[in-house]
């Protein structure tokens, strides 16, 4: 049987979630290479959209790939190059972010960024029915972050929750620690924090703890880092919930692509991996001790 080549192109591990996603991609590739000896995988990570386009060009030009699994850095710039891959006859799986043009991909494993923000916002309103003062930490300035924040703002609109300030913590523990320290200096009373990401939540928690402040009732992170889920499960009042945005979706996508290439099972179509609220009740179901994230 002839070997087929699967290209996997993802953003580099520049923050916690992306790191998890890198891990699951690598893990899936290693596993599937064992399972399907007739498949060859090329995994490339890119630091920005241009580099990702280069990676995809290389895969097409030098490896003659039969399938591409891509988690686009940004939708617009990647649309053309991915379309070129599709035109070459290769199978295309798009993960997380959709392309700007419909119908290019054979399989779409979608995350839901506005939904992530909405679920987070709804949890905030449910926790603070009478309103309250919160601060928000945002990620790296990107479309993803914009969509999440918009979803969040829509959800808390009219609930009486007042956003004191927003700053970019860049999905980074150190940056969010610094920003939170300064928020604590600036506001004598903060009821809650939407950290929007578990890495940032860790920085925020450290800052609150160091300041010894007890006005902050809870911190809502996101993306489902295992340590944070464990704390939710164990009933830590500071971390009453989490919102999923599983980095493992890349693994699922790679696996489905492999199945699609090697069998006649119908795997094309669209799978949306919605963002789910994790509370102490269902935390156990989302706790994967072996995951690095």
């Amino acid at each position: 049987q002839e070997t087929q080549t699967v290209g996997v192109s993802i953003p580099a591990a520049t923050h916690g979630w992306a790191g998890g996603m890198n891990y699951f991609a690598q893990e899936a590739v290693d596993r599937l290479e064992e399972v399907y000896p007739q498949l060859d995988f090329v995994l490339a990570t890119a630091g920005d959209a241009a580099e990702q386009v280069s990676d995809i060009e290389d895969m097409l030009a030098t490896r003659n790939i039969d399938a591409l699994v891509v988690l686009p850095f940004e939708s617009d710039p990647l649309t053309g190059p991915v379309a070129a891959v599709a035109d070459s006859g290769a199978w295309v799986t798009v993960v997380d972010r959709g392309l700007s043009q419909e119908g290019i991909e054979d399989l779409y494993v979608a995350g839901d960024n506005p939904g992530f923000g909405r679920v987070s916002g709804e949890f905030m309103t449910s926790q603070m029915p009478d309103g309250g003062d919160i601060v928000v930490l945002r990620g790296i300035p990107t479309t993803i972050d914009n969509e999440r924040v918009e979803g969040f703002e829509e959800a808390i609109d009219g609930s009486g929750i007042n956003v004191l300030a927003m700053e970019h913590g860049n999905w980074n523990r150190d940056d969010s620690f610094t920003v939170m320290q300064d928020f604590l200096s600036r506001y004598p009373n903060i009821d809650a924090v939407w950290a929007s990401d578990d890495d940032m939540a860790i920085g925020v928690l450290a800052a609150i703890e160091a300041a010894g402040r007890d006005d902050v009732q809870f911190v809502l992170g996101g993306a489902g880092m295992k340590e944070m889920i464990a704390r939710t499960r164990d009933g830590d009042p500071m971390i009453p919930a989490n919102v999923t945005y599983p980095p493992a979706m890349i693994g699922t996508a790679i696996e489905l692509t492999a199945v699609g290439l090697t069998s006649s099972a119908p795997v094309s179509g669209e799978f949306t991996i919605g963002s789910v609220l994790i509370t102490p009740d269902n935390a156990e179901d989302y706790y994967f001790p072996d995951s690095p994230f």
């Binding site: 580099a12 490896r63 003659n64 939708s75 479309t143």
Partner: protein
């Protein structure tokens, strides 16, 4: 003058062999990389030496390459510019906004493209002039000036894009795609422009008074000043030239991705400076070599390309391999020089 003429040492011809090895350094490194790539692609079914791969590598080298040619002049004249990456992002953002906003009123697409190009070039010129002004007239350390403007342009593009992505109108994008992807077969426009800029740059560096002045200023500003060289004007010109070339690079960049975002051009400055140094230009100024820079750029692009040919290294370690190769490329060059 008695018999001195007879006994004075003959016009000494420098022993060329050593010099040549120094010159050969970057070329050897490039050759080694090409061999490595060919070797690797022989072990799997990949096609490293195909026209399409070569075309890809050369086309995408063009952005950094064009910028690095300008950087060669700045560094030769004893300066530095850390702002080029974010300058490129900012100019790309401006061009996209300009073209989008005119798309409604101006009908003719070629006209629009020309306006876009004009915008890119004038923005580049202005940005370069600002850096140049702060360095020459305000006499602030180039490192600080361009670190500052690097932050400023990066912020401005983030702000223009509202944290997200600025995208060109879809119809426009299709119209301008050929600027990046078109050309004569594998000889795409970016390759042609890069080659043109490189040849012209080499000519300017080696054959014009301007090139000489750059080297003179970089080696000893006082000497240049005492020799009637208008130091400020030449130094200013290097920054303006670099700004212009960033504009040119942006003209090629926008058609490729049709968008600009806060991550556009991140770390291009380091890559451009690295290419310049790998090529044999002296970081402290006084000696510059445009063709070396071109080789430096190719070396850097090839490393990425070759790493995509193989799964042998974990993608996590790509950066390490890159680092090792960059150091090795320069060792090759320096080892020979050590002989002198």
């Amino acid at each position: 003058m008695t018999g001195a003429a007879a006994t004075a040492p003959q016009r000494r011809d420098r022993s060329h062999s050593l010099l040549d090895l120094h010159v050969l350094g970057p070329i050897l490194a490039l050759a080694a990389l090409i061999l490595l790539g060919t070797g690797i692609s022989a072990t799997n079914e990949s096609t490293f030496l195909s026209a399409s791969n070569i075309s890809n590598v050369l086309s995408r080298s063009a952005f950094i390459g064009i910028i690095a040619v300008g950087m060669t002049f700045v560094i030769t004249a004893g300066g530095l510019d850390l702002s080029v990456g974010s300058m490129a992002a900012f100019i790309a953002g401006l061009v996209i906004l300009t073209m989008n906003s005119l798309a409604g009123t101006v009908e003719s697409v070629p006209m629009l493209v020309l306006v876009g190009m004009g915008a890119a070039l004038s923005a580049g010129l202005a940005a370069g002039a600002i850096n140049g002004f702060l360095v020459t007239n305000m006499r602030i350390e180039a490192f600080i000036v361009t670190l500052g403007t690097m932050g400023i342009y990066r912020s401005l593009v983030t702000w223009l894009a509202d944290g997200g992505t600025l995208s060109l109108d879809f119809t426009l994008r299709t119209a301008i795609r050929p600027i990046y992807f078109g050309g004569f077969g594998w000889l795409t426009w970016p390759i042609i422009v890069f080659a043109f800029v490189a040849v012209l740059g080499e000519l300017v560096m080696r054959r014009t008074a301007f090139g000489r002045y750059c080297a003179a200023i970089g080696s000893n500003e006082q000497v240049a000043r005492y020799s009637s060289v208008n130091v400020n004007r030449v130094r200013m010109a290097t920054y303006v030239l670099l700004g212009l070339l960033v504009g040119v690079a942006t003209i090629l960049y926008v058609p490729r991705l049709g968008s600009a975002s806060p991550t556009t051009g991140v770390l291009w400055e380091l890559e451009a400076i690295a290419a310049v140094i790998i090529g044999g230009t002296v970081l402290k100024g006084g000696f510059g070599r445009v063709w070396g820079t071109v080789i430096g750029v190719l070396i850097l692009s090839l490393i990425g390309n070759i790493l995509n040919l193989t799964d042998a290294v974990s993608p996590y370690l790509n950066g390490a391999i890159q680092g090792v190769i960059i150091i090795l490329a320069v060792v090759l060059q320096r080892e020979k020089k050590a002989g002198t």
